[in-house]
Symmetry: C2
Subunit: 745 residues, 2 copies
């Protein structure tokens, strides 16, 4: 449910009247050109970025201009050619303005005229699989990409072009394309969605170039509701249109939480940031009084920080929801974003250290100021801390929790999702977590089933296994009840709920805690997950997954480990032949490789991956099953990665508590062939109290140290006093939780 936030829309409308532009005005401004020209000589990073852009443009200009009639999907020739064109055109515009060499302007003009000639020769792209087929591309989204980039190129040659040419291009190409993307495709333009953000920015940016108030207003406020058919679904299964919220300002209102979290997750946020920030930059340049970067308490800048905080130590985004793994803050979108956040923000020197890793800056005053800061040695480390990022326009619809070890030279990171679903790109993964150590995935989130822009794989789009596997609950590190997917796999239902934060405590000495509830994913079932990062020379993670249910159920607790099985405390039998684990909800994609039954109340499993050992130590019930499975069943085109999972299965149970300790230990180098700390430091994990109000877990270490972790499950008050009796001994504490360290006699 999207609530309408109506901040200063009228004011904005008033301010936008009566400007008369000089060009360039959008990203590069007429006033800044001299500075940029100087910068190209003065600051190494800016100079390198400029030289590499110029080299790319020069290389492209050596080839004949190619503006082919649209035919292919992503990854195919016509798609990639048009994509390449817009990327190069944008760079050529900048190179023209900095070099003042007219050959670049002439080339841009020639390409644009080729587009203007092509434009009226066909209707929409021949492939109709999109809910909103584009013009040069199979979906309007890509056409909007094109226009966001090309409007910048056009802006750069606007004043250089004879008036006559300008009018031709406006009339035959740009205005028609802007209409095409807005009033002719309202189901694309009027949503709260990253597609529409691109659409809004595209129309707004070309509107600013052409000084076309009608387009600018469309961009900022959307188009009239009566033009739009309400209802329908897009290709991802998400509802297309919700009345009331539309246009760029509404995108800002609704897309970001006050913490700058974007409900689709960081992969899409990264993608959406470019139009958000570029159009904002253009507005800041052309309409500075509107103070767009202060809009909604400066959320656009906050969003850049939120993005940077959602990365592992390689700078790769946590693959929450639909996300292609490997995407990182080195992407071109983040290069712009970091520049904008630096220049239009507080000139935060820690952003410079990120820019230094990016090794490029955007070719505008923002990038220039970054290059200057770096050349003056002003950068400070960007330290990622534990952070909870609220979700929802008002920040009250769940959150993403990130805990990071505070110990020096450690980089143990936990990510838990108890946010909103994430719309069409959301996964059914409430209370799922992932764990990283030094940039390595210890428990992975599968991400999306997609090869972005690789044509061989179904045109580079989402594969059908994205729905049948990647979005399903069993594909995530969260408890699955009775083999079902949360919300019965309905995006519509899932979108109306969110997780509930319970604890997020990062200031306690020696350990940090995050805890959240999910009460809607399964009917009649209340789930609570608590992750405790216990810090020390050898940090470990305690994971408490508590379930309340009046009915009895089967619980599957999957852990997507990576690497090779080393040792288990339990016997298991490998399957003589491999069968899928189930028929639906993602289980049909898991081969059951091995299974066993635990005869004891404890379990441990160690594996090896990329130089280190990992161990799960678990408090279980005798009779629990353990399963090893592997992704890849019912996968007719080898679209899925053959990756393993370890599952603890508990049947015929109502209320229950799972308690696991996770640790990364030791190392092994194939060159040295010496294994250190190859064994777990944990002797036993046991649940010593499991009730509605309290959970208490005991952790016995190999070195005879004993810890108790006690928590109140339903009372997060810091002042509340609690007492639980364990084997005749009282554990007393104040506040929701406490870790008791003891050394046994």
């Amino acid at each position: 449910m999207i609530r309408i936030v109506t901040i200063s829309i009228l004011l904005f409308a008033g301010l936008s009247m009566g400007y008369s532009q000089q060009h360039p005005c959008l990203i590069i401004t007429k006033e800044s050109i001299q500075q940029l020209q100087m910068g190209a000589n003065k600051y190494e990073l800016f100079n390198n970025s400029y030289a590499s852009a110029k080299a790319e443009v020069d290389e492209a200009m050596r080839l004949p201009i190619s503006v082919p009639t649209p035919k292919d999907l992503a990854g195919g020739f016509t798609h990639e050619q048009h994509k390449n064109n817009f990327l190069i055109l944008q760079k050529a515009g900048v190179v023209f303005q900095i070099s003042k060499d007219e050959k670049y302007a002439q080339w841009i003009k020639d390409v644009l005229f080729a587009y203007a000639e092509l434009y009226p020769t066909f209707d929409r792209h021949p492939d109709k699989r999109s809910y909103s087929p584009g013009k040069f591309f199979w979906q309007c989204l890509n056409d909007a990409n094109w226009l966001v980039y090309v409007s910048q190129a056009y802006d750069c040659i606007y004043d250089w072009l004879p008036k006559n040419d300008r009018e031709k291009l406006n009339k035959n190409l740009f205005r028609p394309l802007a209409d095409f993307l807005s009033i002719e495709t309202p189901q694309f333009f009027n949503r709260i969605h990253n597609h529409s953000t691109w659409g809004n920015a595209a129309v707004g940016m070309i509107g600013l170039v052409m000084n076309d108030e009608e387009l600018i207003n469309r961009a900022l406020y959307g188009i009239p509701d009566e033009l739009v058919k309400i209802g329908g679904k897009d290709n991802d299964g998400a509802t297309i249109y919700q009345e009331g919220a539309k246009g760029f300002l509404a995108q800002i209102d609704h897309s970001f939480s006050p913490d700058g979290y974007y409900t689709e997750g960081p992969y899409y946020q990264r993608y959406a940031m470019y139009p958000f920030l570029l159009f904002a930059q253009a507005l800041a340049n052309t309409r500075p009084k509107q103070e767009i970067f202060k809009y909604k308490n400066g959320v656009l800048i906050k969003a850049v920080y939120a993005l940077l905080n959602q990365t592992d130590s390689n700078g790769e985004f946590f693959p929450i929801n639909d996300a292609a793994k490997g995407m990182s803050y080195l992407s071109r979108e983040l290069i712009s974003a970091v520049g904008v956040a630096y220049y239009f923000g507080t000139k935060d020197p820690s952003l410079l250290s990120v820019a230094k890793l990016q090794q490029r800056v955007s070719l505008d005053v923002a990038g220039l100021s970054v290059a200057e800061g770096i050349s003056k040695g002003m950068e400070k480390p960007f330290i990622k801390k534990s952070i909870q990022l609220s979700d929802g326009a008002n920040g009250d619809e769940g959150a993403i929790g990130i805990l990071r070890s505070r110990e020096p030279n450690q980089d143990l990171t936990l990510v838990m999702k108890y946010s909103k679903h994430g719309m069409g790109h959301g996964h059914f993964d409430k209370l799922s977590f992932s764990m990283y150590n030094n940039g390595k995935e210890v428990f992975q989130d599968y991400g999306a089933a997609r090869w972005v822009n690789i044509e061989q794989k179904d045109g580079g789009g989402y594969l059908k296994e994205n729905n049948s596997w990647a979005k399903q609950s069993i594909a995530h590190n969260t408890v699955v009840v009775n083999g079902q997917t949360q919300f019965n796999g309905s995006v519509q239902v899932a979108d109306t709920f969110h997780g509930t934060p319970y604890l997020f405590e990062t200031n306690t000495k020696g350990y940090q805690v995050m805890s959240a509830f999910e009460t809607n994913g399964y009917e009649g079932i209340k789930m609570q997950r608590t992750l405790v990062l216990i810090e020390g020379n050898h940090s470990i993670v305690l994971d408490l997954f508590k379930i309340n249910s009046e009915k009895k159920n089967t619980y599957d607790f999957p852990l997507y480990f990576k690497g090779d099985v080393m040792k288990t405390s339990f016997a298991f039998q490998v399957s003589k032949e491999l069968l899928p684990m189930g028929k639906n909800n993602g289980y049909q994609h898991l081969w059951k490789e091995a299974s066993g039954v635990v005869s004891d109340d404890k379990l441990s499993f160690s594996w090896f991956d990329k130089g280190s050992f990992q161990t799960i130590s678990s408090a279980v019930h005798a009779g629990d099953s353990v399963l090893f499975a592997r992704v890849g069943a019912n996968d007719p085109s080898f679209n899925l990665r053959r990756e393993p999972v370890f599952i603890i299965r508990r049947t015929d149970t109502g209320n229950t508590l799972f308690a696991n300790v996770y640790e990364v230990h030791g190392n092994y180098s194939p060159v040295e062939e010496i294994a250190t700390d190859a064994y777990s430091s944990i002797r036993k994990v046991s649940i010593v109290h499991d009730a509605m109000n309290y959970s208490v877990v005991k952790i016995e270490h190999v070195n005879n140290q004993v810890d108790y972790f006690a928590m109140a499950n339903n009372n997060s008050k810091a002042s509340a006093k609690h007492v639980v009796e364990i084997a005749g001994e009282k554990l007393e504490w104040t506040g929701a939780y406490k870790l008791f360290n003891r050394t046994e006699k």
Copy 2:
């Protein structure tokens, strides 16, 4: 069959008489100490190496001395403790000599006395799974390691020790241990095998320290035959003893080909090089007139070059035969080896560039001279060229062929095995090949099924899947006939044969060729594989696998690709349930994931791995089967890596020719999300002539270029003239082979 080579044994024996040593004399010499002390201040690399050795020793000396009663296997506590002791003792000896701080000498003495006390308290190691159980370790091999290292430490404090202490240690520890490793365990000491090399070196080195001629003679010439029971097998299934060849000099004679190739393969060569070179260095220092580094035409130095040439671009050894992947020239053995090859060889500046990558030098004059060379900027690149390394003591028992692209900025590498079997560590993989591109495996060799020194995995030793899977023919990129393993899996039989080199041509412009025969692996079947590296901006590989057989057979042509299936020219059906592909010969470990039948005379298959695309384009027969399988069936302890294989299967066929083209093309970055050259450049590969004497293959490129590769299969004479008529056109050439480039009209 080992032929006896009796070079200068008597001379040697004569020269070894009557020396009286001063200590240290083995690796560090009394005369060199001052130089080393200076070097520790003067040359950065030597200084760093010394400082890090000293820091390690200081760290170890802070702990209580621990000389535990033997109990564990590799990876277990007592094993690792004794291993750590010998590594640190050796360093402590050096640190004592350079620092002259007696606390190091005292510590060495204390540790040695602890060993002397422990030694008589028990018989052999309690674990009896080795064919020659050791004393401190489960096998004599590790005890020999211990003595090779500890004799160096002992040498460093020998003159410092009171005579009384020396005599005690000699009598109670070192002489008994030397006897234990030699006359008390002749099945270990008297073989031609890396185990015995360690044993010989250990006994020889302690003999040199103690000036004990009896031990030195045992080391050099072995022990009398009458002490040795002939026959029996070791843990790897290899014959234990072959009469006649024994002792260190015979090891040199028999272990290395004249090119320095070591029949067990580079992984074991790396391991064996340490005792070979250390004992040799000790002999060079103590008995320089024997000119050990000139023995057998300087083969010990050549062997270092052979090793360096058997690495990929990361410096990792090709995993020929039993080999743990990831072992590289960064290992401690190669650090010594490179130093020795530099100092005792020709002071080859290209070795300095390898030493620079190693970032450490050995703490002796060899290491010092390397550090000096580097500090003076003398290094030159070590360029790995195409090379054929002959096998067999006389170089006439097959070879390993390595082709490397000569194009700038390319690193395409082909490795083919047509050597001897490789004794107990050999794999049944004649005519198998592997392919690398820029340090990435394109077609992998599985290596060994073993987790070296990781105790959880069966004590760190070879797993039973090493025999049942890793050694089998189907585990390799070579054609398997009728589902059988070459030589019916008999090491004894395989050891009596070798492949036959046919062509190794690396000077032809634009392409290189290697070709070899295997006629013994399968009865009545003659196999010939020819690999052609066709070089250009986009280099490709042509693979011709020719089989002559009077009987009809089933041929499986496996290719162990890595990564994700992108596109196939043929339809296939994935298996609804996975079954093992067979019952034995390794097939029991392959899950059949998918299969299809080729309806055409061509086939292509593309996959994606780590940023690039790869394609096989193949000339096939309509009716050939294609299979996708995955390693991991019948693997009760998850000992095998779940890796894929693509198999072309041709049934009911006698003579036949397989012709494949392999290419690596394009790239894709998850940050850029742009795929370039995602499609193969090959339109079709076809066999246009397939007869006993000639094979001709046509390669049609997408750009309409057409190549013909023609070869004479049984006549390698450079002067021979050949002519074959293809579709009315004559192809004429001189010499065994020719690549014809044409552009079709």
